[in-house]
């Protein structure tokens, strides 16, 4: 599948934003989030990342001005559900930000935080299911796909929270443990996902797609229907060289997991340089998650390519 930059930016940026929103809501409910400016900055950053992502996702639409219509089909469409969940999450999160901005003393912030956390999980799950529900792409149509989206949002969000709190001089020990665990969990899930897609050669063949060849025969394209690639080939037939993909996969493992896990471990052992180390970890992970997302698309084979020379999909 063609990796569209708008979608890579959208899913990584809003993923990190929802991850941050989730953790800061939980921290607030646990009474571990310092109030005042820090809480406001954190929730503003979360909402800014989410909004930047959502705006970027409308960039690849042919008619962004009609986007309001996309909230209507939540009964059947994960994309529509994602939109509904995203907008619904703005309400408690926005209120929470407002309360923290004016410094009001109200009793129901815990409820708003809980609703924000639930909204964050629901939205990221819907994002994952947009891809996970597509049976035409075997690398996406896996139970692990939404789990990967959730785990990576959680890991990148926890790094952001740790970075912010360390900037505000509030880097508590539990932050190190939280980031470390969420990074390790996300790494394990992503590695399991890669192992799963590598082991799946695809169950559909060009013979099934064309109904030709009969029992034990074969089909190869002779003349293409058009002299140059059409939309279907450009969008669905994008392929990255295997060697190149393997290199990028290693790169994303190093930048998304190895470097941040190393940096966070150092924070735990020597908390003195916490903000510097969290900064390194966050920057590496940002690069890593963008690479991971690019590969998520570039690695994906689409069944329609069986008509264009693919033998299995």
């Amino acid at each position: 599948m063609h990796p569209a930059y708008s979608v890579i930016v959208f899913t990584t940026s809003s993923g990190a934003g929802y991850g941050l929103l989730f953790w800061l809501s939980l921290a607030h409910m646990a009474g571990r989030l310092p109030g005042g400016v820090m809480a406001f900055v954190a929730i503003t950053l979360a909402l800014a990342l989410i909004t930047a992502g959502l705006v970027s996702s409308t960039l690849h639409l042919g008619h962004p001005e009609r986007a309001i219509g996309a909230f209507s089909q939540w009964r059947s469409s994960w994309l529509s559900r994602e939109g509904v969940a995203a907008v619904a999450t703005y309400i408690p999160a926005g209120l929470l930000g407002l309360i923290w901005l004016v410094g009001a003393e109200v009793g129901f912030t815990n409820i708003l935080a809980m609703l924000s956390a639930i909204g964050a999980v629901a939205t990221v799950y819907c994002t994952g299911m947009i891809y996970g529900s597509l049976r035409t792409i075997r690398q996406w149509n896996k139970g692990l796909t939404p789990v990967v989206y959730l785990a990576l949002a959680g890991a990148t969000g926890s790094l952001l929270l740790a970075l912010l709190m360390s900037f505000f001089g509030a880097a508590a020990a539990w932050l190190g443990a939280l980031t470390l665990v969420s990074l390790v969990v996300a790494g394990a899930i992503k590695l399991a996902y890669w192992r799963q897609i590598d082991a799946d050669p695809g169950q559909y063949t060009a013979e099934m797609a064309t109904g030709l060849g009969g029992q034990g025969g074969s089909v190869v394209p002779l003349d293409p229907p058009h002299t140059k690639p059409n939309f279907v080939m450009r969008e669905m037939g994008y392929q990255v060289a295997r060697k190149h993909a393997a290199r990028l996969r290693r790169l994303s493992i190093i930048t998304l997991f190895v470097v941040p896990i190393g940096a966070v471990t150092m924070v735990i052992l020597a908390p003195g340089a916490a903000s510097m180390l969290y900064l390194i970890a966050t920057l590496a992970a940002a690069w890593g998650v963008a690479t991971e997302r690019w590969l998520f698309f570039a690695d994906a084979d689409h069944v329609s390519q069986l008509f264009y020379g693919a033998t299995r999909a």
Partner: protein, 246 residues
């Protein structure tokens, strides 16, 4: 509404005979011509006469070489367009409801006035039948010429999809595949018509008729040209040939 209708009154669709299609592209050309001026028009092209032409077409004609287990090979011309599936996800994934399946006849359409051009439906189609129109910013697909088949302003013999009307060999037929007595259903029954990628489970309405067995023949044995025997006469001709072609 992007939920699928529980059942449709009719199952209008095409039956494509792979045995007699000659790959002339007449159906694709007439489809483009009709649909670039009708429903959801135009079907825009980019760089049509240049080095890198592309554009939205609703019907594409492939050619495959199909080789049987016994090693008999045959060229098969293979028209491919939307199959108006009975249970397609291209409809249910649409966030706006622009992609829908009609309850009255089963035709799958895109509403060009509400489509936001997110392209998700094209991702959900295993047949590569939907093509995005970059100029219009909306998704395009075969409409089964919904603006012809019910059109009382055109002569009755023209009230079939444009591709069916154009095909010079009669390789395309249009009708109600939900009615077992219709001509199309009977030809499917007679000729063992099949579904493309049946295993995928979208239940396409369009059917394909396989190439007939007796039209697949072993290639006639080619007579080997006699090997040069090195005689004087042959040398003389070789010399003359070389001298004359200098």
């Amino acid at each position: 509404m992007t939920c699928l209708p529980k059942k449709t009154d009719k199952k209008l669709g095409l039956v494509i005979d792979l045995d007699i299609c000659v790959g002339c592209q007449a159906c694709a050309t007439s489809c483009k011509e009709w649909n670039t001026s009708g429903y959801s028009a135009p079907l825009s092209d980019h760089d049509p006469y240049g080095a890198d032409p592309s554009g939205a077409w609703l019907n594409r004609i492939h050619s495959f070489e199909a080789t049987s287990a016994e090693g008999l090979a045959k060229t098969v011309h293979f028209p491919r367009s939307c199959l108006h599936c009975e249970e397609p996800d291209c409809v249910t994934v649409c966030p706006t409801g622009a992609s829908y399946k009609r309850e009255e006849d089963g035709i799958v359409l895109v509403n060009p006035d509400t489509c936001i051009g997110c392209k998700l439906c094209s991702w959900a189609c295993p047949y590569g039948a939907r093509e995005y129109d970059y100029d219009d910013g909306v998704m395009k697909k075969c409409t089964l010429c919904v603006d012809r088949i019910y059109n009382e302003n055109i002569p009755e013999e023209d009230r079939v999809p444009s591709c069916v009307r154009a095909c010079p060999t009669g390789a395309r037929a249009f009708g109600d595949l939900g009615d077992p007595n219709s001509e199309v259903s009977q030809s499917v029954a007679e000729r063992d018509g099949f579904n493309l990628l049946d295993e995928f489970g979208y239940k396409p309405v369009n059917k394909y008729l396989p190439p007939r067995i007796n039209s697949v023949q072993a290639a006639p044995a080619v007579e080997e040209p006699a090997a040069p025997d090195g005689s004087r006469l042959e040398k003389l001709f070789a010399w003359a040939d070389k001298a004359l072609s200098r």
